[in-house]
């Protein structure tokens, strides 16, 4: 009785937890396909792909992606190299220095990113001045500063990943290679590096993702080279549109795809290893019959389903035209809006009369009484729902109209004229 109750509550908790974790991503992804100009799930207007179109025409986003890739590549190289060196040093450092050294190289994980960004900026600015270089030197270049700043702490993550594998490395392997005539560099390249390869790959992926999504450090160091994250932050702060959802959807889809692909690969390696283990000499020497890619590999099947789904969606997107639906919705909204405006005019008239009456009574009362019911209005009269492209002209309007009683937008002439 209590056992099954416990099990049910565990599962209920898991469901709630993962809803909290994944729900926002799903909702955000879905809003990318709603034609509503404010990213939302309900009311659902029309299925549209226009936000993807808009995204791909946004020069700042494209430029941000380019900068992110450049900076990401630099950060991967620098932080994996430093992380590996740091891990190697950790395994052989003089024991008395070990604890101090570990604290120093682990500290950047705990130092707030803002602090890292500032210290990087301040320090290299000073170096720059000491060397007598101008404001356009390499040392004050946004790419350089960002790579340096990000690598400071990303290298710590890499170090943790690498040292975990390094601890399972048998130093005798390097010694055996040296003993057989290899130089230290050859032993490193031919023995240690192949052994570390899975961990290096993980560290590189981790470093790239950390670099790609970093905001706190980059926001101080990017200079002339805003990364995608910086551009996104600017957009989100000054006006959210579903094209951000579209970008989010692409990133979510890519992430899920690669996670599945990785899982499928791991599963396959396990299966292959199991087969090899049982293989006879002849099978190994000749052709060994490996299990087909999909046998016993659910993740691989999912990857393929995923790919097919993507192709279908892209195919639909090119053929599908939501213009009629959008026009319908727009017409309907226009009618509703007109009706509301009429109502509002009346209401305002009444209010005015009422206020005049009150002023006559009390005299000098400043604030208008808050309309008793504005719940339905917020949706419709948020200006961006009416004006499809009004974002550009009205950067402040995406802020939920909390400071202006929910009506502010409705009386903004722009919003109606755009329609």
């Amino acid at each position: 009785m209590s056992g099954s109750f416990l099990r049910v509550s565990i599962w209920a908790y898991l469901v709630i937890f993962f809803l909290y974790l994944l729900g926002p991503l799903v909702i955000m992804s879905v809003t990318a396909f709603n034609s509503s100009a404010f990213p939302r799930m309900s009311p659902w207007e029309c299925l549209t792909f226009q936000w993807f179109d808009e995204l791909f025409r946004d020069q700042r986003i494209l430029n941000g992606i380019k900068n992110s890739l450049i900076i990401g590549a630099g950060t991967v190289v620098l932080s994996v190299a430093m992380g590996l060196a740091g891990a190697l040093m950790l395994t052989q450092i003089w024991p008395k220095l070990r604890a101090t050294y570990y604290t120093v190289i682990i500290a950047p994980i705990l130092i707030p990113g803002v602090v890292l960004g500032i210290s990087t900026l301040v320090f290299w600015d000073r170096i720059n001045r000491m060397l007598g270089l101008g404001a356009d030197s390499v040392l004050s270049n946004g790419v350089f500063l960002t790579v340096i700043g990000q690598s400071t702490f990303i290298a710590s993550y890499c170090m943790l990943v690498l040292v975990a594998r390094l601890q399972r490395y048998d130093v005798a392997l390097t010694e055996a290679a040296l003993d057989l005539g290899a130089t230290h560099a050859q032993a490193f390249r031919k023995i240690l590096l192949p052994f570390m390869r899975p961990a290096i790959a993980s560290a590189a992926v981790l470093a790239f993702l950390a670099s790609f999504e970093n905001y706190n450090t980059t926001t101080f160091t990017f200079g002339e080279y805003p990364t995608l994250t910086i551009e996104l932050a600017q957009k989100v702060r000054y006006g959210i549109t579903p094209s951000i959802s579209a970008l989010a959807f692409i990133i979510v889809a890519l992430t899920v795809f690669f996670a599945l692909l990785n899982e499928a690969k791991l599963k396959r390696q396990e299966l292959v290893a199991a087969v090899r283990k049982n293989a006879t000499v002849e099978e190994l020497a000749g052709k060994i019959k490996l299990p087909s890619f999909f046998a016993g590999n659910a993740a691989a099947v999912l990857v393929v389903i995923f790919a097919v789904a993507t192709i279908t969606v892209v195919g639909t997107a090119t053929a599908y035209d939501p213009a009629q639906c959008v026009a319908n919705v727009r017409e309907q909204k226009r009618l509703e809006a007109e009706q509301r405006i009429q109502e509002l005019r009346q209401q305002r008239e009444e209010q005015r009369k009422q206020r005049e009456a009150e002023e006559a009574e009390q005299g000098g009362a400043q604030s208008a009484p808050r309309p008793s019911n504005n719940s339905g209005f917020g949706n419709v009269f948020a200006p961006n729902t009416l004006g499809g492209d009004s974002e550009e002209t009205q950067p402040q309007s995406e802020t939920p109209p909390s400071s202006n009683d929910g009506f502010g937008g409705a009386f903004d002439p722009n919003s109606l004229q755009n329609d």
């Binding site: 955000m28 130092i111 707030p112 210290s119 320090f123 290299w124 400071t152 992430t255 909390s402």
Partner: protein, 306 residues
């Protein structure tokens, strides 16, 4: 040459040894230690235009720190109430976010750590995926949900729970949910790693002896998982206290986070030394706080990051 260095080069070869040593020194000294010292130094200097730097006016001063406490010289108030309030609010909120995260993550970490089966791997992937999505986008997703016309308000108003949309953003609920959301993985993984190594027989034995489930956790699992818990809490506290994206996107118009003040000093006021001083205050306070809590719970620094 010290014996340690000699052995190091013997073991790694001269070329490889120099490469390793060079990278490590560049990282530890060039990227970690010197920039922090440089920032510390900078925070004690006045804000001068570039030509005057190094000039006669460039002397050490406590002005930047005084500013945090007393506000601008000749200001109307005795204390810099705005900045100080933001500072303490940030710390307290970060503690709350950490506790909230610990409470929701511990059961998950325990479940993942002690269950066997292939579905655990799927759960692990589901846990990691949100972490791979951009920090800004994660905040954006919550913004969509918590917005005045967002999913939650539509739902609650639709169900008749609220009459009017609730302003989650203004009430900072969105901010706390966002901060908690952002660092879930950093809380789960350290705890999971420790609990995974806990021999399930210990729990069985405790159960065998008639201990109720909460006592098993209190007396067996939690003491064992302490390094993981402290590691997770430290990371979440430091990261939420130092968060910038979530407060910028999910914070209401008036709810400033201390990092936002630093950001303003740097980008809007162009007062780098002042910003550096604030950054130092944040860093030092957070470190002291973490060390104090770690001492209180008797945890070692070496457990962090495991």
């Amino acid at each position: 040459m010290p014996k340690f260095l000699k052995e190091f080069f013997n073991r790694n070869g001269t070329g490889m040894g120099l490469a390793i040593l060079g990278l490590v020194l560049f990282w530890t000294i060039g990227l970690i230690i010197l920039p922090q010292l440089s920032m510390l130094d900078f925070s004690f200097r006045p804000n001068l235009p570039p030509p005057e730097i190094g000039g006669p006016k460039d002397v050490y001063t406590l002005e930047n720190y005084k500013y945090l406490i007393y506000g601008p010289e000749g200001g109307s108030q005795d204390y810099n109430a705005v900045d100080l309030r933001v500072f303490f609010r940030t710390l307290i909120a970060a503690v709350c976010v950490t506790i909230f995260n610990l409470i929701i993550c511990y059961p998950i970490a325990y479940y993942l750590g002690q269950s066997k089966g292939s579905h655990i791997r799927i759960f692990a992937i589901m846990l990691i995926i949100p972490y791979w999505i951009n920090e800004i986008l994660r905040a954006f997703a919550l913004r969509i949900i918590f917005g005045e016309t967002g999913v939650l308000n539509t739902l609650f108003v639709g169900l008749g729970i609220f009459d009017t949309p609730f302003d989650f953003i203004r009430n900072d609920i969105a901010l706390y949910a966002g901060l908690g959301y952002a660092y879930i993985l950093l809380m789960i993984f350290p705890i999971y790693n420790v609990i995974e190594s806990l021999d399930h027989n210990q729990i069985e034995a405790a159960r065998d002896l008639g201990a109720p489930w909460w006592r098993i956790h209190w007396r067996v699992v939690i003491p064992y998982a302490k390094p993981g818990i402290s590691s997770g809490c430290t990371m979440v506290f430091m990261l939420s206290a130092g968060a910038l994206a979530a407060p910028q996107i999910l914070g209401g118009p008036s709810s400033l986070w201390f990092t936002q003040l630093i950001y303003q000093q740097f980008n809007d006021n162009n007062d780098w030394p002042q910003g550096a001083a604030y950054a130092i205050v944040l860093l030092v306070t957070c470190i002291l706080f973490v060390l104090a809590v770690m001492r209180l719970f008797k945890v070692n620094m070496g457990d962090i990051g495991k």
